[in-house]
Amino acid sequence: MADLILELFSEEIPARMQAKAEQDLGAALEKALGEAGLSWASLETASGPRRLTVFVDDLSERSADVKEERKGPKVGAPDKAVEGFLRGAGLSDINQAEVRSDPKKGDFYVAVIETPGRDATDIIAEAVPAIIRGFHWPKSMRWGTGELRWVRPLQRIVCVLDGKIVPFEVDGVASGNETEGHRVHGRGPYKVLDRQDYEESLSGAGHVKLTRDARREVILSGIEKVCTDAGLEWIEDKGLLEEVVGLAEWPVVVLGDMDPAFLSLPPEVIQLSMRTHQKYFAVNDKKTGKLAPNFIVVANIEATDGGKKLAEGNSRVLSARLDDGRFFWEKDKATPLEDMAAKLSTIAFKAELGSLGDKVERVAALARELAPKVGADPDLAERAARLAKADLVSEMVGEFPELQGVMGRYYALEEGEPEAVADAIRDHYKPQGPSDSVPTDPVGIAVALADKLDTLVGFWAIDEKPTGSKDPFALRRAALGVVRIVLENEVRLKLHSNLEVSSDLLSFFADRLKQVLRDQGQRHDLIDAVFALGEDDLVLITRRVEALGAFLDTEDGANLLAGYKRAANILKAEEKKGDLPSDLSVDDALIAKGPAEEQALGKALADVEAAIEGPLAAEDFTGAMAELAKLRAPVDAFFEAVMVNDDDAAVRANRLALLTKIRATLHCVADFSRIDG
């Protein structure tokens, strides 16, 4: 058994690519070694700004010999058969085959093919260059005069098995047993004999924290320490944390400060400036809970002055950034939002759908129309819609597109717009993803719905719908947004009959609604059953589905469904035989002559038909279902005692009419034929 260390050492690997590359390299090596017939006790990986490492412990030194026997033709078989056998087994002469005897078949040939095992060194020397050449990076490059592609120039390959170099070369880079440490604190090179040696050299004199976990730990404990010491509170940012984990081999957490005067800027601007441009963490003052005039930077050196100079330098850069931010903020505040909005007419929304200015006009009209339905003031809704996109031409949003809406809200407040208008400007983009909340203020709801509906109706009108995985205009997200806003706020809209939503677009909404209801645990067949009624009010659909689900979970519900199926099957079978009589109306006089069960069903149907009208009109679906439950007993009894196919044609027709009535009554609530079970 031997231990293997493989390290691919390059110039700085983009932080976002390191974790995946580490995983891919481990998997590729595992696959290659396994396929070559080697075994091992453990395979571990590590990655950092300049290296990917794999440790394989207790690797078998040789793959096993493989002996394979192949049965051939009988002795004395025709030449053709013997030739074919020799070719297949890779033999040149029949004397190389053995002759075996079988009591039934007689003598026949057997080829014994022996493949000797290979040394692990040879297997690795062949596998690693192939892995390197075929490695997939999100973006790769060539350098110098070589043809090899890697994420950045590949400088060294360490490949040591049991203390010895596994010799190979990839495009001018030869494998070796020397690695490098931190550029400033201990570059090395360091000879690598085994894993312990490698880890000790690098984490000691080499000043390299090898694994992501080790670096994350140092960073988190460093953050905790500087925050505790200064009475601050870290504003957790996992995305940024994962990024800085890939930016330093020897992370050192340093607290910097900034001119408190900058705190007059919106906190979003400061935080985004820190995060996007500088990769700093923002911190709150523990006492006030508000942004503190400090930042946390994760450096890659243990500075000889304790980090004083680098903190000052970082602070100066942040000041310059925030100066820019202040310049944009002041310049934007000097421009009325209406003037910004006017510029939208020069920006294309989508060629066939006009400019952003045109879109704003449409959204304003629609927001006004929707306002009464969501309890918003129409004037405020229209006003908010007219200003909602204005900040897209502001300097600040030009710099930080993520602040769209957020800045518009600030500028609106500066100009004394009502708070509802300002909030709607910010919130009309919501929800921006599954974890984002929906607007809850009526004005925000009106504008958010109008904006998304306009986009969807527009793209449907020019036949630009999402196909497969392609959805370049994020139309699915827009539709899902509409569904969530409508459901979470119980907004009552008739999408098809009141708004210009085509039936095709309506079914697109239906699919999104199914997604939402499914996530809530509702059965998709129930959703289909309700949709089939042609309902276009998403809130009502949801209520029906919920009531239906609860009903079917009861014994009455399940049995009634079975009765329905039976009725429907009989009708279907009769329909196959020939057309049912055209006027299938129930003749009460005929029923009165029939058996008691038939009379009871006839009465129950008439009663229930009348009784569900009230609850249905009141949108009380649970109440309607309770009425339907009363049909269960008479339906069961009817099928138990009564023969539908009576010899008397009139009686038969009347009973078929009864069945049709069962079907029709249940269809007042849902199309039961689409329900499974």
């Binding site: 550029r183 400033v184 002055d305």
Partner: protein
Amino acid sequence: MTAPKAHAKPKSFQDLILTLQNYWAEKGCAILQPYDMEVGAGTLHPATVLRALGPKEWRAAYVQPSRRPKDARYGENPNRLGHYYQFQVILKPNPANLQDLYLESLYAIGIDPTVHDIRFVEDDWENPTVGAWGLGWEVWCDGMEVSQYTYFQQVGGLDVFPVSGELTYGLERLAMYVFGVDNVYHLPFNDPDSEVPLTYGDVFLENERQQSAFNFEHSDVEMLKRWFADCENQSNALREAGKPLPAYDYALKASHTFNLIDARGAISPTERQAYIARVRDLARGAAAQWAEQEGAGA
């Protein structure tokens, strides 16, 4: 190997430039002079963008004044200028130790790596105007971008081989950092102990003011539009005549003329895109023709 050491700090802005020039001259670069045309970036000097094409080896370094009319701030912003300098280095093919050479150039201008935090942060460079892109980094010193470091992969829409390593130092920013100055106009331009000490402001402040006024208030947009068309025609005609070098010059002239028009905010976003596409066609066309001629001569 011992830890890297920084040299003494340069005394002035010009001293910093001279130090970089001497450093790269020692590494075998031809020290060129600035290109005599208005360009928005040092990369656009034919010594970089055109020489990156074709099979011939090449090493050069030079200072290039860059004009970005939109960035002008009437001399009122301590960090932004409409006219500034870049120091540009190109090594083709890139030597294997280019990262080390680059870091040593920072040590040479007095940046001490034992107290300053130097980092290579992913930044893929592209210049669609000349159909060029490459992979590399922004180099950060204490969070400030002091250089752009790129391995060219394509220029003029063509794969390059061999690959060039390109370094761009933003000189004013770097100098402000080295001298610990918060306002660009306070940088010592020459030796502050000399008989006539001059600051960056003494040399350039009035220029920034007047040029800003030109860029934003006084330029004649109609005239600029005519110029643009003339440059475009000239560049196309030169390319048709098989003369990519002057054709490229006229592409640069068209590009700067467009930047002036753009600074006035006189064109709609749609028009803007159309102008950019026209400049791109000129620059790419000239670059592609040059590559063809270079390849043929190899």
